[in-house]
Amino acid sequence: MTAISLGAKKVKNRRPANSFLSALPWIGPAILLILLVVVWPAIELIRISLTKITSAGVLEGFNGLGNYRLLFENPDLKTIAIRTVIWVLSVVFLTVIISLPLAQLINQNFPGRKFVRWAMIVPWAASVVMTSIIWKWMLELTSGEFNLTLRQLGIQHGQPVDWLRDPRFSFYVLIWVAVFVSIPFTTFVILAGLQSIPHDIVEAAQVDGASAWQVYRGIKFPLLRNSLLIATIINLINVFNSFPIIWALTRGGPGYNTDTTTTFAYKMAFVEYNMGPSTALGVINFGFIMLIVLVYLRVTKATRDQA
């Protein structure tokens, strides 16, 4: 008894001092990789954002916060930032709202469930660029399937609607495509959550006479909290970073009408050759992502501690 507890104590004492060193051979390569592909580019990113850089890409020495000043002087930045918030919140919200019942549906046992699940995962498994280009074809002005169908059904008369180029519609179309692409992942995360709910709790509630809605509202939904949190946060990151959908469908245009801070940073650098402010925006975007990642780590730690 004593020996055992002594031994345990020893191990406990030794761990903080040596565990990192002794673990190094195993985690070393991963740390190296992270240093190389995450930390170093991040440092470079910040360094270049403090450097004067010409439109030809030539670095001309330290520039202090000059690039940041230029960025914040840009009259379009505010609108684009607000749009980015609307973009992220609405895509994530709609995705979760649509995914909740979908997960419920494919959690049921019905013939052909396998195929429904398979079909649902396709938009996620396919390359986002590919999906976006298919949507672009479908929504094309004169020859797109969508407008042709509307016309054949007699819903659309006169001039066809220019879904992707008309600024009155294009941003909503983008939101829809982003939701479409985000649904599979979200649904499957929620499905995993549903399947982890113990049967006995549900059965107990049913025996007590709870209606299906009461079971969902009072038992299943609260137990989905963790899955929902994780799905939401990962979607926040994905949607915020979402470049290919916007770029493939509208290039952020007309003007900056459908730009988010992500596409705007790219557009400034590679279309308008306005490199300096673009690097500053890159740092700000990176900082925002780091913030969400921190929240994610907090949340997962909280849920793990809970478990």
Binding site: V58, D162, R165, G253, V271
Partner: protein
């Protein structure tokens, strides 16, 4: 003293989610030169493969590492290669001035002897000068004219091809009345080529981007505001394709090729594009319409070949550039590029007859201020912004671009 960026431009790497993979080529003992060119057509890679094979056979000490890129890619690459310290030895691009300003380029006189240089069309070599010195050479050029669908125009009761803005509006109204599903005139102000579309309309109203006499940007001049308002009036009257601010030139060309557009501004290579699209449209070509106070102009646009100064590459880049511009090789280049105006006098004597009306327009050509280091930046801003002038306030949009241009400088 300017310093070339030694490190990766990771800021850009972080925002551009699409990474392009560079082919890794083993090092040779001989001098290796890296050449990067855009694909004017799909025939370019095969042309260069043949050219480089013959070049390497004739120059045993030199190896060529050639990358063919789409225009979309090369516009991005052109910037990142310098920033990432992987500057190529030779590049073919639509701008050169900011590289010249950064002192990265050989002078044209370092590359070519006087006789070869004298063969370039003077107007084009003048556009290749930065601070009075040529740092690039023209590879080809284009001019634009007014294309119209003969059947649509003539059957709508338009008996004379419009030469003025008023006649354009009148003809467009007639076409709309006769063919409700046709877009009478296409005005592509999307980011692909808005700077050209606006320049040619404004040019016909004496509007320019840069005033060569006063050395000032004049983007928000009265003439330019008037032009943008005129284009807006066509849009508001429903005489154009929908959403001109986001219609790219390629989209508009396709609509014309399908017989859905009556009139359009198009470039010298448009006939070969129409052939590629297997278009059945019977088209006519006319000088570009102008305003009541202006005169007809054409927009001359040229691209450039430039050689980057790198230790020990002078002999090799000189050899390759001279090889490219040997008459037979250059003729092959023009053929592969498809329907452009030659940049040399000697090649101009043997052009296809379809080019002649465009060459005849060249004396009336206006050009971009491509010799200013600020031009790439200003042009980029015009492409993304000018189209929004038909949605919002024309003056406000041009004021905004003017501000960017003034900040970019006039050097």
């Amino acid at each position: 003293m300017k310093k070339i960026g030694l490190r990766r431009l990771s800021a850009i790497a972080a925002v551009s989610l699409s990474a392009t993979v560079l082919a890794v080529v083993p090092a040779h003992a001989a001098t290796t030169i890296k050449i990067i060119t855009p694909n004017y057509t799909d025939a370019m890679p095969a042309y260069y493969a043949d050219l480089n094979a013959r070049f390497e056979a004739a120059n045993p000490g030199i190896k060529v590492e050639h990358t063919n890129l789409s225009w979309d890619d090369i516009l991005v690459k052109g910037r990142t290669l310098v920033a990432t310290n992987s500057t190529p030895d030779i590049m073919n691009l639509n701008t050169f001035s900011d590289y010249a300003a950064a002192d990265l380029l050989y002078k044209a006189t370092d590359i070519f002897d006087a006789k070869t240089l004298a063969d370039f069309v003077p107007a084009f070599i003048d556009n290749s000068k930065y601070n009075g010195t040529a740092y690039a050479v023209p590879d080809l050029a284009s001019a634009r004219m007014f294309f119209y669908n003969k059947k649509i125009l003539y059957t709508s009761g338009v008996n004379k091809v419009p030469t003025t803005w008023a006649e354009v509006t009148a003809a467009a109204k007639k076409i709309k009345a006769k063919y409700p599903s046709v877009y009478p005139i296409a005005i592509p102000l999307g980011s692909e080529e808005a700077q050209g579309e606006f320049a040619i309309w404004a040019g016909g109203n004496n509007g320019r981007y840069f005033d060569d006499k006063t050395k000032k940007w004049v983007i928000n001049s009265k003439a330019n505001v008037e032009t943008l308002k005129f284009l807006t009036s066509l849009v508001k009257a429903g005489l154009t394709q929908p959403s001109p601010a986001s219609t790219n030139r390629t989209d508009a060309f396709k609509l014309f090729s399908q017989g859905k557009v009556g009139m359009i501004n198009a470039s010298v290579f448009f006939p070969s594009t129409l052939k590629d699209y297997k278009s059945k449209v019977d088209y006519g070509v006319a000088p570009f319409p102008h305003s009541a106070t202006g005169k007809s102009i054409t927009l001359g646009v040229q691209d450039y070949f430039m050689a980057f100064k790198k230790p020990g590459n002078d002999v090799a880049v000189k050899a390759w550039m001279n090889f490219l511009f040997q008459p037979t090789n250059y003729a092959g280049f023009l053929k592969a590029a498809g329907g452009f105006i030659p940049a040399t006098k000697s090649a101009s004597t043997a052009v296809d007859s379809s080019l002649l009306p465009f060459i005849a327009q060249l004396p009336n050509a206006i050009f971009y201020p491509g010799d200013l280091a600020a031009w790439p930046k200003v042009a980029g801003t015009i492409t993304t912004q000018v189209g929004t002038g038909v949605i919002y306030d024309a003056k406000g949009v041009l004021d905004k671009i003017q501000k960017v241009a003034v900040a970019a400088g006039t050097k």
